[in-house]
Amino acid sequence: MGKETPVTAPIVGKVVKVLTKEGDRVSENDEIATIEAMKMEMPIVAPVSGIVKQVNIQPGQVIQADTVIALIEQE
């Protein structure tokens, strides 16, 4: 069992797209979601490589800063 790293929302915003799901393998800096704030769409990327263990958000949701949006287990 590898270390579980949370992916947190950097700012308050609205989730536009969720580009990953549980079980996906991602590399560091892969885009895993798109968030919109101040009329700008910005990608949220994976901080580490690994397997996505949990995805806590869906499109259209407004999230606060520091919300854990996903968990990635490093291998």
């Binding site: 950097p10 700012i11 800096n29 885009e31 704030a37 101040m38 009329k39 700008m40 910005m42 990608p43 990327v45 901080p47 800063a65 520091d66």
Partner: protein
Amino acid sequence: MELLVKVLKNTGLYHLTWQNGVMIAVGGLFIWLAIRKKMEPYELLPIGIGIILGNLPLARLMNPPGDIQQSGILGVIFHYTLYYHNLLPPLIFLCLGAMTDFGPLIANPKTLLLGAAAQMGIYAAFWGAILLGFDIREAASIGIIGGADGPTTIYTSAQLAPHILGITAVCAYTYMALVPFIQPPIMRALTTLKERQIVMRQLRPVSKTERIVFPVFAATVIILLVPLSAPLIGMFMVGNLLRESGVVPRLADVAQNALMNAVTIFLMLAIGAWMSAENVFHIRTLKIMGLGFAAFAVGTAGGLLFAKFLNLFLKEKINPLIGSAGVSAVPMAARISQHLGQQANPKNFLLMHAMGPNVAGVIGSAVAAGIFLSILR
């Protein structure tokens, strides 16, 4: 037959000059830019149609107040709310204050310095204008274009150089719309990749008390030091207090929506209609356009370089990309800092950090205007 000739001679068409034609085309261009290219539509669309209306001869839309039934609607608006009494820019500032979040600035007060540094563009354009032969009051009005702030530019020009009012205003709004093209090359040229990758830690939460004290305290201090910035800074802080107090949501709502939109319509139409061929067709218009561009470029560089300078003394480094957001095209310049920051480092979120200098720059340009006015009025 004679009557027919008289009727024809009274048509606008008979009196249309080629210069009017060019200005009408310019107005059409602004409308196209607003609609097709989505360039600052809230400003450029009414300005564009205003230019067209102002260049149709004999329409008398810009006739100033005078004898009964002689005035033009746009002339009256222009005269009473802008030219003779400078009302619309302070009103817009009230509305802007109601839409502004000072949280990032309060959380990181250093960014006030970045906002100040980016106002360097104002002084560069000022001296450039003097060198190009403008008198000191014109130069101040041209310099303020570098503040990247439409209402401040209009407010200053109306008092110091009303004969170039529309030109300075349109330059300010046009270059604000062009910030996504003007800033990035300068930002890349003046920063290293490593600097662009600097991650900035999340801003501390700002309490409601801080948000309420800030506008009152800031307005008091600034106006005591620079009294002639009061119409802009004072109204800005009134709007901000309406927003942050939380107890007058209906007033905040009007300021953010109905009032803002109404004033925008009147102000932009009046500015556009002012731009008749007679007012615009001078060599000085081209000089002003060049100086305005330089102002934005120098301001961008100033903010970036000052951030790098501050980093020499800071343990926790600032990402210099937020410095350029001191050129207060809100929030466009902050978005550009965000974009370039993420290009360099996908994990970096500079947007809220960049909002600090972005709103500080609004204060900075209003203070610069106040200083110019106190010396030159």
